[in-house]
């Protein structure tokens, strides 16, 4: 649980040696058996927030409680209940992955089943390669296994899906889902909307060091749908048709030959505008989709608002 977290970095030479504030009062909460996601673009403050939550960084203001304790300077007992996957790995490059994982697991009284983690994450495929020579995605998998080696109650995963091929992504997502089912509290960061949407129970959108939106995925998308009228309908039909005159709030365009997109749909009446035109011109589309709102739309709208406010 984090309340009103402030974090300054510095002194920064570019600011005449003053401190630079990177977090302006972040608040969040994560429960056992859930996946909580910090979503934001690069540099939004996600990793800094995690660093404070993990006890790696000392906050400049606010309160941070990890399993009821202050994580900064935490006891070994508290650290033994928390697993951390750092964004840049934090793995010694000269070692091979499996001895490293066994070494990390040896610090715990009740470690995870390392053999099954190794097998699940396909680490045995590159067991004889030193960490230095692993690909980005392979390193990610080792770092994930290292974070889970102690069978933690809370796992902080910084960008767990970055650099993974589709197959490993699938495996990692399944694993995260199972750990959640088993009651683990998982806090992860991502800048990928799709991942946030697929994995999360609860999402905090962070931008420029501030919480800008939060909720379950369905809350976030539904809420924004109510506020903003940006539903889209796409359909395919004959190329280069003459487009009808439509009410001002609707935009119809031929995105690529034969593929049309209607933006600004907010009521059934808007759809009727479209079907009236089809009836008049005797058009039967080959395919028709209404796009459900995605986190990406929410995120882009928030970013848009932010830019307009500036």
């Amino acid at each position: 649980m984090i309340e009103d977290l402030l974090k300054d970095f510095g002194p920064v030479p570019a600011l005449d040696g003053r401190m630079m504030r990177v977090l302006y009062g972040i608040s969040l909460k994560a429960d056992p058996g859930t996946v909580t996601t910090l979503l934001g673009s690069n540099g939004a403050g996600k990793s800094t927030t995690l660093g404070c939550a993990q006890g790696l960084l000392r906050p400049n203001g606010g309160t941070v409680r990890l399993l009821g304790e202050d994580p900064y300077g935490a006891s070994p007992a508290l650290r033994s209940r928390v697993g951390v996957m750092l964004q840049d790995g934090g793995l010694p490059p000269s070692l091979r992955p499996i001895p490293l994982l066994r070494h990390v697991a040896s610090f715990y009284r009740r470690p995870a089943d390392i053999d099954s983690l190794i097998e699940r994450l396909g680490i045995d495929e590159f067991a004889t390669t030193s960490i230095r020579r692993l690909s980005g995605g392979q390193k990610q998998r080792v770092a994930l296994a290292a974070a889970l080696a102690g069978n933690p109650e809370v796992a902080f995963l910084d960008e767990p899906s970055a650099g993974l091929d589709p197959q490993s992504r699938q495996v990692v997502f399944e694993l995260i889902g199972e750990l959640r089912e088993a009651g683990m509290c998982i806090v992860l960061t991502t800048h990928l909307m799709e991942d946030a949407q697929r994995l999360s129970d609860y999402v905090y959108i962070i931008d420029e060091g501030r919480n800008v939106a939060q909720g379950t995925v369905s809350e976030l998308t539904a809420h924004a749908a109510h506020e903003a009228p940006a539903q889209a309908v796409t359909f395919t039909a004959a190329a280069a048709m003459a487009l009808p005159a439509l009410p001002e709030h609707l935009t119809l365009a031929e995105a690529t030959p034969g593929h049309y997109r209607l933006d600004g749909v907010r009521s059934p009446g808007d759809l009727a505008e479209l079907t009236t035109w089809w009836t008049r011109e005797d058009i039967l589309p080959h395919a028709l989709t209404m796009q459900p709102r995605t986190l990406e739309d929410v995120f882009l709208e928030i970013a848009d608002k932010g830019n307009n406010a500036n």
């Binding site: 750092l86 990390v104 715990y108 009284r109």
Partner: protein
């Protein structure tokens, strides 16, 4: 936090402190002795120095038998190479790659990480003393029996002082700079810092500085102990002072990120 401090031990999943430190010490030791460059610095170069000093007359005025004059200095060189140069470089790169940050989030923690490194330094130093000391004995070295206790204390205290100095360098500058500084210091201290040759050999204008260096305190005191069996309280005090100052500075300024 009364509730949390009561709750934590019940759910604690950490192995005991000593066990974690021993595990980390073993892991760091294996890392050091399985690394080719480190082995060269830890064993091959000291052996070359030993042979070089025995088969030249560079130390002929220090002791009647050249090996008696050479062996203590080479043992001092081992301390600097393992505790300062090797350990400093390894720590610097571990810091660059985030290894220190990651391990400090495990039950091992920052303190365990440091104690593990100290253990590894002592373990590698023990192996070096066996190899170098054994070779020297084969070459006819006869250390003064009265000085052996002093020598062991000096080696341990020297390891503490140079480990603290190595951590201070590794924790405050970039790893490339750590590499340059610790290697350059190793060569300079070996040559004119009182390690291989008595500190009185240093140029006159450097004398006041050299006398206060941990290298001179270590090298000169080891020679006094093992050649004539004389204990050097001032050498012990200088090493102790360096350990405390560098240890304090490293605690204060070491950057983990």
């Amino acid at each position: 936090m009364p509730t949390s401090t009561q709750a934590a031990p019940a759910a604690a999943n950490a192995q005991g402190t000593l066990r974690r430190i021993l595990l980390q010490g073993r892991y760091e030791t294996l890392g050091m002795i399985s690394n080719g460059e480190q082995l060269v610095v830890a064993v091959v170069l000291p052996l070359m120095a030993l042979f070089g000093l025995v088969f030249t007359d560079l130390l002929k005025d220090v002791a009647a038998n050249p090996i008696d004059a050479a062996a203590p200095g080479v043992l001092a060189l081992c301390v600097v190479s393992t505790a300062f140069t090797g350990q400093g470089i390894a720590t610097g790169f571990d810091r660059r790659y985030g290894v220190l940050r990651f391990l400090s989030t495990t039950p091992l923690g920052r303190a365990g990480l440091i104690y593990g490194k100290v253990m590894a330094v002592l373990a590698v130093l023990f192996l070096q003393v066996l190899v170098i000391g054994g070779t020297a004995l084969l070459l006819g070295w006869r250390p003064a029996p009265a000085g052996i206790g002093w020598a062991l204390a000096l080696l341990v205290l020297g390891a503490a002082a140079f480990t603290a100095l190595g951590l201070l360098v590794a924790g405050t500058v970039r790893p490339e700079a750590t590499l340059a500084i610790t290697n350059l210091a190793w060569v300079l201290l070996a040559a004119v810092g009182g390690i291989l040759f008595p500190s009185t050999r240093a140029p006159d204008y450097l004398q006041p500085i050299v006398d206060l260096l941990p290298s001179a305190a270590l090298g000169d005191s080891l020679r006094a102990a093992l050649i004539t069996g004389t204990g050097s309280v001032s050498g012990i005090l200088i090493l102790l002072a360096w350990t405390l100052i560098a240890g304090f500075a490293a605690t204060r300024w070491f950057k983990w990120n």
